[in-house]
C-alpha cells in the first residue's frame, strides 16, 4: 500500500474543512456554533486558495539579499488570503456583536426559538396574524416575551 501523496492530503484537509463548516451551518441550532462553522468554512477556503498557488520546489516570493530565486510560488493567492483572513476576523467580530444583541433582546440563541420570537414580533408590528400552515412542524417551546422596545 503506497502512502497518499501530499497534495491529496492537503486538498482533502481544505475540502474537509469546507464540508465540516457547511455541515455545522446546516445542522446547528445554536447561533454561536453557526458562527464558528462559518470560521471553519473560511479557513478551508483560504487553505484551498493557498494550495492553488503552490508550485512544487518553488521558494516563497521574497527576495533575500538581492538574490531572485529561480522558481517562486504564485504571490497573488497569498496576497488575497492575507487580506481575507483579517477581513474575516473583522466580519466574525461583527457577527458576534449581532449574536450579543440577539441574546440581550430575546434571551436565547436557539434559532428555532429565535424564529418563533421573530415571527411573532414581525406579525405584531405588521398587525397581522401569525403565519400558519397545516404542514407546520411542532415548534418546541415558545421563547420568552420580548422586553422593552427591541433596540435601545
Amino acid at each position: 500500500m503506497t502512502p497518499p501523496d501530499l497534495g491529496a492530503i492537503l486538498f482533502s484537509g481544505a475540502f474537509g474543512l469546507v464540508v465540516i463548516g457547511i455541515l455545522g451551518i446546516v445542522m446547528s441550532t445554536h447561533l454561536v456554533r453557526i458562527v464558528l462553522s462559518i470560521v471553519l468554512l473560511e479557513t478551508g477556503a483560504n487553505l484551498l486558495l493557498m494550495l492553488s498557488g503552490y508550485r512544487a520546489g518553488a521558494a516563497a516570493p521574497i527576495i533575500i539579499d538581492g538574490v531572485i530565486p529561480a522558481a517562486m510560488v504564485d504571490p497573488v493567492p497569498q496576497a488575497l488570503v492575507l487580506t481575507a483572513i483579517v477581513i474575516g476576523v473583522a466580519v466574525q467580530a461583527f457577527m458576534m456583536t449581532l449574536v450579543l444583541r440577539l441574546r440581550s433582546v430575546y434571551g436565547t440563541l436557539d434559532i428555532r426559538e429565535l424564529r418563533t420570537c421573530l415571527e411573532r414580533d414581525i406579525a405584531q408590528e405588521a398587525g397581522i396574524g401569525l403565519p400558519t400552515s397545516d404542514n407546520l412542524p411542532e415548534t418546541p417551546g415558545v421563547g420568552p416575551v420580548r422586553t422593552q422596545g427591541g433596540d435601545a
Partner: protein, 229 residues
Amino acid sequence: MRSYVSLLFVAGLAFLLFVITGQLEFGAAPMRVGQAINQTSPAEVGAANIVTSVVLGYRALDTLGELAILFTAATAGGLMLGRPRAGAAHDPDAGFILRTASDLLFPLLLVVGLFIIVHGHLTPGGGFQGGVILAAAFFLPLLARPGTHFNHAVFSVFEGLAGAAFIVIGLLGLVYGGEFLAPLLGQGEMGSLLSAGTLPLLYIAVGLKVGTELAGLMAHIAAYEAVDS
C-alpha cells in the same frame, strides 16, 4: 427529518468536492499572472516581498476596498452595541498572573506589531498582520482590567487619520504618478528599510487602521453589558 435532509445535502456536496480533489493537480500552479508579477515586480515596484507589491502595488485599490469593509464592520459593531451606561457594572479584575502578564506583554506586543508593519515590504508580514498584533496589545489590558476606560475618541482619530493618509497617498500618486495609488518616491535599494517608494507608508496607514479598528470593535464587545436571564 430536517437533519436527514441536511446530512444528505452535505454528503452529496462532500462527494462532489472529493471527486474534484482527484482531478486537481498539486504543485503545478499555472501562474499566468503570478509568473509575470514575479518577473517584473522586483524592477517595477522594488519591494523585496513580492506579496506586498501585489497587495499595495498591483491590487492597491482592492486593499482600499478591504479597508472599507473593515471600517463598515467596525462602525456597524459600534452602532449595534452602543456605549455602556455610566457606572455600569463590569467584571472584576483578572488575577495577579494575567494582570502582570498583560503589563509585561503590552510594550512587547507594541514593538513586535510596529516592527512587522514597518518591515512589511521586506519580510513576511505587513500592515494587516502587524495591525492585528497592535489590536491585541491594546485589547489585553481590557481583558486583565475590565473596568479600564477605553478611549474610543483617541482611537477614532487615529483610525480616521490612517484611512485619510491611505487615500491622500493614493491621490498624490494620481497627481504625480499618473494613476491612483501609483508608487512614488523612487524604489531605493532593494532590501533596505527605506525602499519601495510609498509602499511602507501605505502599510503603516493600513496597520494603524486595522489595529485601531479591531481594538475598538473588541472593546465594544467587551464593554457590552451581559444580560443574564
